[in-house]
Amino acid sequence: MLRDALIQAGMNAGLATFLDILGGVLVAATFGMAWVLFGIWIERKVAARIQNRVGPNRVGPYGLIQNFADALKLLIKEVIVPRNADRPVYFLAPVLMVVSVILIAAVIPFSSVVIGTDLNIGLLYVLAVGSLGTLAVLMAGWGSNNKYALLGAFRAVAQLISYEVPMVLALLIPVMLAGSLSMQDLVRSQHVWFLFVAPIAAVLFLIAAHAENGRAPFDLLEAESELIAGYNIEYSGMAFAMFYLAEFMHAFFVAIVFSVLFLGGWRGPGAETYPILGMFYLGIKSMVVYFVTVWLRLTVPRVRIDHLLALNWKIMVPLALANVILTAFLFKLVPTPDYSAARAIAEGEFTGVASGLYRLLGPEFVAMLPLAGVLLVGNIALLVAAAALLRWLARRRRQEVEALVDETEYAPGVAAAE
């Protein structure tokens, strides 16, 4: 749009293209950062409500400009560089951390027309960019040259790479259903929200992405009481602020990506004709998801590292693998939805209840219902089976322990008999 206007104003086509791209980039890149200044305030207010406090309330109305004050304060703080630090690595780490998060914004479809660039490998791009954050953590740990930092970084990396597995496995399901990796295609094929078609994948993705972000209950990356803040212990001032910024931005982007992949993105009544409505819908959806993650963060206590890794490798990964196989099987079992036929019925002559239904609910939605229903039932069945299996395993384990207790002389029954 901007490009055409500039060319009409008599500008060189190449320069106009560049300015067009630059404009888009600046908007998409600063969007995340601008959000954080506001989002931290929301999060602090929500946290305060949950913990029965007031939250920021001094700087500005309702403490709204508290964050600007904080940012200013961090700006005039000294950036202390430890003597033994590996300087280039030390300073590169926070930059890479922010880059790995901010780059996600390039492919997020904010509405049917507003998208940075619709790569045909969009989702894979998101995953690839996200995996760079792991390297930033390692670099921060090494660059600080501190035992706590390096140990914390190693733990953090063990957690981050572990949870990447169920996350990626869960994302195979939307890709399979949409038949494309492009983010815009993924949104457009959600005639029924993928949350209802593939609930297991949605929940697995949300948990894994939350763990990737390193927030409570998975905040072992910066467990204050064990690792005195982990890999970013030696950072101060603005260098530390960048880690903080990256974490908050990541939390918000996780919410957006979840909305795009499982809650229909910008889809909603009238979103195709009025793209601005689409942005509004996406905003609402991602705010709801964001609230859920903040809620989780503030109410669930931190897990132990062995539990954390066991949850991942012994429950989530097998479940995700079973889910992929089940979904693939059911997907082949049900005939592929015939959207063009459905559209023809909806636009054709009015013949009774069926065509009325198609017209009322939208032809694509009705056409996708059988597939969605079968997959939903399959997902529920898998979940019930998994829960039963876990119960059975837990019961067996408990019986083993109880049998062990009976054999020892410390068991109360034995002692009384003697």
Partner: protein
């Protein structure tokens, strides 16, 4: 030859790749070497994008930068004491340099010969237009097509399973603690 933006971008990525590679080979500190390896791998990913293979670029970042390099860094950390060693090169480094340079010279000579001779047209021509409509779907179909790559696909799974089992078996030999 005309200087285009594409050519400049290519030069940048080529420089990243080669400079990173040289850094990996010459760095005394192994952790720095691993970071320079990242730079080189990133350059290669950029070259893949220029070659119209964005899927492979993403895979390069995901597997190489996010997977193999982390494994290498972990191995560096586990085998301490060698990071800031005095002699990073063996006694035969001069021989190694001669062999590598000879190899490079040979390839350059061959390329030059080809450019002068039979492959002149191919070497100067721009890449053909068109290509596949949906390359990723085509790749997916090719990977499971019995007439194409079904066997390598399954063998890859066997290889990876074997590598995992073997590597775990080796890395966790508990008798030496």
């Amino acid at each position: 030859m005309e200087i285009t933006i594409e050519l400049l971008v290519f030069l940048v990525f080529a420089l990243l790749t080669l400079a990173g590679g040289l850094g990996v080979v010459l760095a005394r500190n192994l952790f720095r070497a691993a970071l320079l390896l990242l730079l080189s791998l990133f350059g290669v990913a950029g070259l893949f994008v220029l070659l119209a293979a964005p899927f492979l670029a993403a895979v390069q970042v995901l597997i190489y930068m996010g997977g193999i390099t982390i494994l290498i860094i972990f191995a560096v950390m586990l085998t301490r004491g060698m990071v800031r060693a005095r002699n990073v090169f063996s006694e035969q480094w001069d021989l190694a340099a001669i062999v590598s340079l000879a190899f490079l010279a040979l390839v350059v000579y061959l390329l030059w010969q080809l450019q002068q001779g039979s492959s002149a047209a191919l070497f100067a021509a721009p890449p053909p237009e068109g290509g596949l409509e949906n390359p990723i779907a085509a790749l997916g179909a090719a990977l499971v097509d019995p007439a194409q790559y079904m066997l390598p696909f399954e063998v890859a799974s066997v290889l990876l399973a074997g590598a995992l089992i073997g590597a775990i078996y080796i890395a966790r030999d508990d008798e030496v603690e």
